[in-house]
Assembly symmetry: C2
Homo-oligomer: 442 residues x 2
């Protein structure tokens, strides 16, 4: 049996910029705009099979994908690595401590090659999966679990469900700017999706109020529901240690303290001071450690005990699997990071999670914040039940594009003024005309 | 498009023990027996496609494969990981320094699960490749090179080409028990195969004679041909440092000093002493570091600068890819280990090497020591030209079984008394009735 050179050759790459309504969520970055941005890609083979994927939105990621188009036309989908080897060791980085701390996720210039490669890798895997009748997770080594756990992801938020003018979405959760309102939000999420753990976005209110919020959650849900808080580097080392101490009980039992402060050195210092107090709450990160080059200094200083992987910027699914083995080897936990996303990314996250034995925590997802009205997956939003996404038996990612919905997302993108995420600008517009992201703030 | 449950289901596993003639090669383990042992496996799917592979020989590995047969019948070849997750973190190991130092490769009990998984993983990949028309290297991420470099692998040896009685093989290289004879052997290998580097098996003669051998090679081939010496842990730390110093020029230029002494602590001590003399010859290992659990202590003590991977015992091709990324991350070089093997293993080594970006040295191979008469691959021995194996474009591993040759190998296995590699016994039989493997010897 011999095969010719056209076996699974890429004929076309189509890049679609879309906008989706997003509620006014708060974080240390500022305020989510009324629309989040995503890019949907289609990769078509010579025999007309179409692989799809979803990645970061706005002009920059779409331009990077378009720029690489000529290079991948004619390439065998199975041989992407040889053409676009994600050479992360050659990434030029201004300094380890820069990392993603000061940047909106998805727009770190030093990650661009990895993000572009990842976007295409997943589309290739979807294409191969459709052509061979195989789910993506099985193409990359085989599922080790049939369900992937996700966490509830509560945010402090203003009133509103996202969208503008006549395109406003229903505000399912209402305003939540106090500890009590936040706990109500989590209760609603848990009752709707059955989440078994909570990742709470902090770095918004005074640390004492955020401590109170976590304590209220712990009172409400008990030690059976692991709690995490992620202030996105909003705190000094001193504040981080103070919060870690105040929440030493609440963040144990499978929880963690995520990126309390900026950079590997500060994280290591927080860890050291907590350990000296016999507090073993692990520190997690998706900003101090965002690429393989960050790992040796982090290991050497015990800065980060849990890495949040994300195939979108770590260079794809196989790079996440490498990361997981590395983490297992060095006794580092592995969780998963999320940005605002739709169902294609959710399924890609579920597939890579399914094929990664050493995934030790429930994954993050913003998915419950997105509206059915914006979903581009045929059949509407993917169910999360018992806190889990079921790993599909269908070929590829297991989801198809709804082309009408895609057109609506594209036309929304054309009509809205947002072409780049800018949470600071939104804060200035709606909350405080002089607001700036200051790290550390407290 | 939906697929049923029978997609790529495994219907049968057949395990064939074979013997192949092997010349009387010497190492610190002793003397190679007249026959080396291998296991050939066939994995047949419901639709009659057969994936093949080659692994360690003799009774123990074959029994481990037969023992797992019931567990994998009915499994989807794409989903092997979920069924036989190579859980290397749970390996029971008597102590890090035991490693493979005192054991014949392929018979370390703590590696058994990894070896068995690897044998099946590669057969599954061959099966999937044949079913989908895809070369194995492209199934696991895609080739990053079209040719894979191998090193010449000279040994001190006695006269004889392997085999016994009327089944003797031609002695292509003759006796080589002096520095001069060893260099002649290398010249012959290079002229026949075009190797661009030399991995020389030491630990056999007095270290001063082995130093002389390397110096003679360097005189003969010059700095353009990287040289390595591997005494299989035969030396003390002191002797290792002495040899490293004596060969500081000859082992630079892309060469290395492989497992001069036993265990991570001793290796670290050799490294430290050489560095103190400004000698930066890297230390390589396939006995001090043989599994992921060995890596953290090795990294912490800078014991090993180059790891020799081997999909046969590291848990398969994907685990080797994980290892490579880990090595790249920690600035560790990657080379590849070999045991006596035939063409199926050679092709599997070439495929994993082709799909591993961070492979920084030419691979080892015993293949030139094996005879065409013993090859089980249809069409005879795989060519090595310019020191390289060409990565095939054919589906799967790219080689088919010659069933007549397989039958000859099986009947040879039945008729010879060797059922387990025992290089000490061979030494006692042919060289020195009282010989024992003593580490360190010098």
């Amino acid at each position: 049996m011999y095969f010719n050179d056209d076996h699974m050759k890429i004929k076309d790459l189509r890049v679609h910029s879309i906008a989706l309504a997003d509620p006014p969520l708060r974080s240390s970055y500022g305020l989510h705009a009324p629309y989040a941005l995503r890019t949907i890609i289609e990769l078509e083979s010579e025999d007309g099979i179409i692989g799809i994927n979803e990645t970061y939105g706005g002009e920059v990621p779409a331009a990077a994908l378009r720029a690489i188009r000529e290079k991948i036309i004619g390439v065998d989908a199975y041989r992407l690595t040889g053409v676009l080897n994600p050479d992360m060791k050659n990434r030029k980085r201004p300094g380890l401590d820069r990392s993603q701390t000061y940047l909106v996720p998805g727009e770190n210039p030093s990650d661009e090659a990895s993000r572009t490669y990842a976007a295409l890798e997943v589309a290739c895997l979807d294409l191969i999966g459709r052509a061979t009748g195989t789910p993506v997770c099985d193409l990359i080594g085989g599922r080790v679990r049939d369900k992937v756990s996700f966490s509830a992801y509560p945010f402090y938020k203003h009133a509103g469900g996202g969208g503008e003018g006549s395109d406003r979405r229903e505000d399912e959760y209402g305003e939540a700017l106090t500890p009590e309102a936040l706990v109500l939000q989590v209760k609603k999420m848990i009752s709707r999706y059955g989440f078994g753990s909570v990742k709470f976005k902090g770095g918004v209110l005074d640390p004492d109020l955020e401590i109170e919020t976590v304590k209220l959650m712990y009172q409400e849900f008990g030690p059976g529901v692991p709690l995490r808080i992620d202030p996105n580097s909003a705190w000094t080392v001193e504040t981080s240690v103070r919060v870690g101490k105040a929440l030493s009980v609440e963040l144990s039992n499978g929880g963690y303290l995520e990126d309390p402060t900026a950079g590997i050195n500060n994280m290591a210092s927080v860890r050291k001071q907590l350990k000296a107090m016999n507090i073993d709450t692990p520190l997690a990160s998706n900003v101090a450690v965002t690429c393989f080059a960050d790992i040796p200094p982090s290991v050497a200083s015990d800065a980060v005990q849990i890495i949040l992987c994300d195939h979108h910027y770590w260079g794809g699914m196989r790079q996440v699997q490498h990361l997981a083995k590395l983490a297992e080897t060095f006794n580092i936990g592995l969780s998963m990071h999320s940005n605002s996303h739709l169902g294609i990314s959710l399924m890609a996250m579920a597939h890579v999670a399914a094929a990664t034995p050493h995934l030790t925590y429930a994954c993050d997802t913003h998915y419950p914040w997105q509206s059915e009205k914006d979903e581009v997956v045929a059949g509407g939003k993917i169910p999360i039940q018992g806190g889990c996404v079921t790993v599909p038996e269908k070929p590829g990612l297991g989801v198809d594009l709804d082309y009408d919905q895609l057109e609506r997302g594209k036309s929304r993108y054309k009509n809205v003024p947002y072409k780049k995420r800018d949470d600071e600008a939104e804060m200035r517009k709606h909350v405080d005309a002089n607001w700036k992201r200051v790290l550390p703030r407290w």
